[in-house]
Subunit: 225 residues, 2 copies
DNA sequence: CAGAATTGTGAGAAATCTGTGAGGAAATCT
DNA sequence: AGATTTCCTCACAGATTTCTCACAATTCTG
């Protein structure tokens, strides 16, 4: 469930966006000023930001410029009709898309979907999320349905290698090279054993690791075969 | 210098876009109908397409759907003001962005830049598309009319060898060398057996693999035939 | 049109591959 | 050091794929 931050001083507009976003299963945070937005950003992992250009304290462009200093989180800006130059300015500052007011909530959500899809889908910064399976590379932790699961080192590395390269098939030899190291020499079937154990640890999500018969393994989220 | 294809029946609009695109150093092609556009696409490598939704012969959505069958080239659509549902429809079909008429050429060019930056910066996953048949080399998956079809290793390799070298005829011996390996020794007729099975798996697209009598096999995709 | 060459097809045996469980070696922790 | 965890090898069973072969169907040649 992607997290959205809505930044606008107008509470009506915030609630409007909020309503539709929740319908589309977004988890929403609100901020009524630039400073509040920056605070929220620091305390929570946000996947996408809806940012109004017109705000009293600090306008959208200043805010955008400021937050681009420390995050690449995608931003969709809300502009008043006909502010063409605003759009140009915003693109240069790194906005990901624009919606002109008055806008239809459906269009906004369509653009949100498109931007998220482009920016890497569910892969947000330092956390890989696949449904109820979350992987935090830095912390080397994994959680299944919110419950932490401790994985042995090799299994974690193996999972990372596969999950980071979703859809891509790796042969046992490639996995040995990348996870065990180039100089490793040993039975390729060792990979199988670790896959087996890893699958047990993943419980309901064991199916995300697919066997590609005659070739190797791959990680695949939501795609039958 | 990126190549742009402008698809619109209105010559004034084409020239308008063209002028600004050339100022930004784009190399432009024009097409005044969907069929012309498809032809241009086949004969030249296009980086981005500007597509007007409203065209007489065949509208922009049909065109978009058709060209998405064989290319992932980014598309920006031009829509009349307020056609919100059009936008939603288009996003689903795989448009990369929208600009509503009347638009400012500068805004259009800004969006072009943004889309190219995204689609270019991101490694475009290579896939082969032939109408309803898609092949993803990395994932080693194939889909027939949107439905995934699992191919045995040899069949997938065989398909890749042929599809990657469209129009080129391979003898059985060449296929044995390239798919089975130079050192392979066995009956060349084995190839036939695999071709047969492969064709069955391809269903409606079995005809893409043509028999060249007395020589071998080739892969050939043609619009009509 | 007959005969020769080439390709399509079906079936089954042989080869290959994967899942799995167990046991011992190796590494890590306390 | 002793205990615990992790890692690796091996072998068997079951499943899948690959290969061969014989015969049918098709295409070419004269």
């Amino acid at each position: 469930m992607p997290k959205m931050l809505i930044v606008d001083d107008d509470i009506h507009l915030r609630k409007l966006v909020l309503t539709y976003a929740q319908l589309d299963n977004y988890q929403c945070q609100e901020a009524e000023s630039a400073s509040q937005a920056l605070a929220k950003l620091r305390e929570d992992e946000i996947d996408i930001i809806i940012l109004d250009v017109m705000m009293p304290e600090q306008d959208g462009f200043e805010t955008l410029a400021e937050l681009r200093k420390f995050t690449q989180t995608p931003v969709i800006m809300l502009t008043a009709r006909g502010e063409e130059y605003d759009k140009l300015l915003g693109f240069n500052l790194g906005a990901d898309d624009y919606v002109s007011k008055p806008f239809s909530p459906k269009e906004l959500m369509a653009r949100v979907g498109a931007v998220l899809k482009r920016s890497g889908g569910r892969k947000c910064k330092n956390q890989l999320i696949f449904d109820g399976l979350t992987i935090e590379p830095d912390a080397r932790t994994t959680a299944v349905d919110g419950k932490n699961v401790r994985l042995p080192p090799k299994e974690f590395d193996l999972l990372m290698q596969l999950a980071e390269n979703e859809h891509i098939v790796f042969s046992r030899e490639q996995l040995l090279d990348r996870v065990w190291g180039f100089d490793y020499l040993g039975d390729a079937r060792t990979v199988d054993t670790h896959i087996k154990s890893l699958r047990e640890h993943l419980g309901p999500y064991r199916k995300l690791i697919k066997t590609v018969w005659g070739v190797g393994y791959k990680f695949e989220y939501q795609k039958e075969n």
